[in-house]
Amino acid sequence: METLRALRYSFYLIFHPFDGFWDLKHEKRGNLKAAIIIVFLLCVTFILRRQLTGFIFNTVKLIELNIFLEISSVIVPFLLWCIANWCLTTLMDGEGSFKDIVITSAYALTPIIIINLPLIPFSNVITAEEGAFFYFFNSLAVAWSALLMVIGTSVVHQYSMRKAIFTCILIVVGMGIIIFIALLFFNLIHQMYWFFYSIYKEISLRM
């Protein structure tokens, strides 16, 4: 019941972001469980959108659904954002803990869910000429969530708006750096593996 109340709070939050995020953190109006549910719902939304969007607007190959890929396409950027956010804001005197960041970021994603879910049936009853509405609402959802992300960052870390925007840009850069390092790391591990494997093979063949 408490989780349900926390989930319902997201409807209030997206229309009153400044108060909303403040209460979210200080009045404990949200919790981690609700945040996880929101991210899960986002995964579900993305999969439904991929499979059920009307034929006119859907240009993906429906038979090639990889559910793990779809889920990770939501979870990985989300976690990257949270980690980069935490890394940067700890250095920049942010007030929020990692848990706060996860909760705030998850709540900020609500518009994507509540706009995209009705858009799925809607896209099945409109023609290509009316597609402008579809694309408008699609981008509206993203823009709204992005705005909430910035406001959330500013409220949870007690930043001024300018600093929050600047931080968000840095976070995106930070996400890129994390990806780069991760790729580098995996590449090196891979090469090391093959190096030792070839040594092993060489020795075992000569013995």
């Binding site: 034929f55 006119i56 240009t59 190959k61 009853v125 023609t127 290509a128 000429e129």
Partner: protein, 495 residues
Amino acid sequence: MKPKRCMVLLIAMMILLSSRAAYADAPYNSYTYDYWGTPVPSPAPYLPIRIIDGTSLGVGNFSTPMDIFVSQDNKIYVVDSGNNRIVVLNERFEVQKVIDGFVKDGGRDTFSKPQGVFVNEKGEIYIADTDNARIVHLDAEGNYIREIGPPEGEIIPPDFQYRPTALVEGKGKRLYVISQGVNQGLIEFDKDGVFRGFVGAPKVSFNIIDYFWKLIATQEQRERMQDFVPTEYNSIDIDEDGFMYVTTSTISESDIRNAINSRSQDDRYAPIRKLNPTGEDILRRYGYFPPVGDIVFRSRGYAESGNSQFVDVCVEPYGIYSVLDKRKGRIFTYDSDGNLLYVFGGLGNRMGTFRNPVSIDIINDNYLVLDNITGYITVFEPTEYGKLLKEAITLHQQGKYDESTAKWEEVLKLNANLELAYVGMGKAFLRKDEFDTAMKYFRLGNKRDYYSNAFKLFRKEVVGRNFGLFVMGIVVICVLWWLYLKRKGRKEVRM
């Protein structure tokens, strides 16, 4: 059933299922590309039926023949470049005439490595006499009429090398000539043989990434890079309305790849263009992919790599055109909207494959493909599948939708993977106002724009039929909403 009997049945079934008799006699794999860009096997649309060479014709072997042309009265002109002659055949492939020279001003004159020929509706022959840098104009009997030399004018640079390789006669007896190494487009001569200018110059392909690299490159690196030069044409054909189809093989692999990936519809990186007399491109590119030949090909550096390299184009009735790919020896045929109909042919040493194909033309629905290494002309005859496909398209173009639906149905029986056939069926049902059936077929054919049109009409029909229901639904929702608000208001008052 006894297990033994089961086994026999199973083996019989396996043998039956694995028989591929229908494909056995084609020396190549035929295919089309689906909406996703995957090559999908198709029945062979054309099969080789005979090979013609100079010896069997009794005129001696062809030596690097460069061009084959079918005139309107179904005579075949072969430009036997190495032997400096034009061999004229009738439609039964019998030699009618060998033109190896002509009488000019009382003296005998000959050709020097001619590379192209064009015959107008009166049977007059134009020969691109390449190494002599001139166009020779002969009458139907092969008597000399005139010659047209290099273009002269202010815009021609002094070091201009004139090597005409292909030409057509357009409306108003104007000549459009392709010259090797010229990238300003087609050279246009008026009916008196006076140079009028260049037409149809391809736009300079300009790529922002190339530009960036050029900015940061050193002087030496820059010199080794390709310049931003317009592409040069290598072959030309003209349709009955006077539109010219030209091909080029100088567009880079990465530009072709970009055009494929963006499903480009403009002529920026188009290896085939359809020019109107003022030189504008008007080719319709509404297929799933632009007409660039193969959609899937390996990158440079691998075996059998690279995009298709068009060397010749041949125009067929109803806006259908075929292009010949030198790199893989394949023939790609497109309809007037740019949909790929079929692909056949290949490189090899069997009948129906080529070593270095250079020219293609069509006579009575049979393709003639000229190979300049072997000197063979291969004749391809349509199979039942190929015939049905073309009939379905031409019937649709003529507005005979019922008959075209019947043909498409038969095409689908032979090749259920042909999305074009589903689209064709869909269009026919759309014309007959059967919108939901049309939608079903457009969906199978992955044709979203037509699907949207059909859906729009379908929706209108459904809404019209159930108008009362819709109005009632809206009223009910309004009433419920009003009741809800009222109840909510009362609750708040009580609180």
